[in-house]
């Protein structure tokens, strides 16, 4: 049986990716140097943890899925996932490998648990994955991935409770897959940000730090916060943070924080937390 060895919650934003490429070529912007430095310990921890597979719960941003057919939950079943071109050309990174032989048993278990997924034989991954990916891993990527895309763009979107339940179902599905993989679960969604309307550029560091603190031990407290309240205080797009709940619920109650970091470089709070399962 495969084992969940740890989890990561991490913010994503297009500028995070852009600043990585620029930073590696000519040195980091002073506003972004802390994020690069602050993610070094996570990268080092991942090298030691040596996961062989990563489940990534994320959302697309009109870069692959269009509104013609918009899935609420979609899982990538392919052997390879190219990077999505967001209109500015591809960044200098390879696509990510998938693992259909792991994805199908996991998908079957998730459907049995009540999650009627959309299955994608083609899927391109946008900045929801690629903006943070090179901060945590070096290409060629050392893990194959199972991406799960969640509708965060068109309301109604899944409730926080449903995203929590997905994590719990994922935990059971991974443990019953008949394989022997070391699985990392990553939940990624932007921290406080508001990128439309006259509230454009709102950042709420107090909320972001509170969230980073609570996600380890007080998930129930976070789950009790209505979605509209998160959107009110931290920006409507901040509802993406509920995808971190899936990651946390996929880990056991005894999972412990190894590291966390927060900085607010521009218009989006950037935070990361690494959680380890005991004895992994």
């Amino acid at each position: 049986m495969s084992t969940i060895v740890g989890g990561i919650g991490i913010a994503h934003t297009p500028s995070m990716g852009y600043q990585y490429d620029k930073g590696m070529a000519q040195g980091f912007d002073p506003a972004w140097q802390p994020w690069y430095d602050g993610t070094r310990p996570v990268k080092k921890w991942l090298t030691e943890l040596a996961p062989t597979r990563a489940v990534i719960v994320y959302n697309d941003h009109m870069n692959y899925f269009d509104l013609a057919t918009y899935p609420t939950f979609a899982m990538g079943m392919a052997a390879h996932f190219p990077q999505a071109d967001e209109g500015y050309g591809l960044r200098p990174f390879p696509g990510l490998d998938g693992d259909p032989e792991l994805a199908w048993p996991v998908a079957r278990a998730l459907v049995a648990a009540g999650f009627d997924l959309t299955f994608c034989q083609e899927l391109e991954l946008d900045h929801g994955v690629y903006s943070w990916l090179p901060y945590l891993f070096d290409a060629p990527w050392p893990v194959a991935v199972l991406p799960i895309a969640v509708n965060m763009l068109m309301h109604p979107i899944p409730t926080p409770q449903r995203l929590h339940a997905l994590g719990a179902a994922l935990r059971e599905a991974i443990r019953a897959d008949g394989r022997d993989e070391r699985v990392l679960v990553i939940g990624t969604g932007g921290m406080s940000h508001q990128i439309h309307g006259t509230r454009f550029g709102t950042t709420n560091e107090k909320w972001d730090r509170y969230f980073l603190d609570k996600i380890e031990k007080d998930l129930d407290e976070l789950l009790a916060i209505p979605s509209h309240e998160i959107m009110r205080i931290a920006g409507t797009d901040t509802i993406e943070l509920t995808m971190w709940y899936t990651m946390r619920a996929a880990l056991g109650a005894s999972a412990k924080k190894v590291y966390s970091f927060y900085t607010a470089p521009a218009v989006t709070g950037c935070g990361v937390i690494a959680l380890a399962e005991p004895d992994r």
């Binding site: 509104l67 006259t198 454009f200 709102t202 959107m231």
Partner: protein
Amino acid sequence: MSDDGDNTRSSFDPPHAYLFTGEICSRSYALNRFAFDFKHARVRARFAAAPEALMEEYGLSEQEKALVRARDWTGLVAHGGHHFNVIKIAAAVGESHLHVGAHMCGARWEDLKQALPRVVNLLPGERR
């Protein structure tokens, strides 16, 4: 740029924010289809060469066409364009997400950039 001092107010109500719903999508699907396809270089090239023909082909209404011609980003989002789609049109004519943000705030780009991030510090249940 002057902050209205209460930018957490009425968070879901325009013009403070434009929450995109299924109902809005159904009403404004043609516009969103049009804007989404700007991810393809061939569509951007066609827009640069013959914008009116492209808008006609995608079935945009006269009002939508006028908003596109005017580069009225706020109007396009208010009309039902998802902001992730609308910024694709903006990018194709050389305007960044920050330009779109400035348009929404009724501010000059330079002034908005100076004002960022617009910090609020609230926990759930708190008001200022």
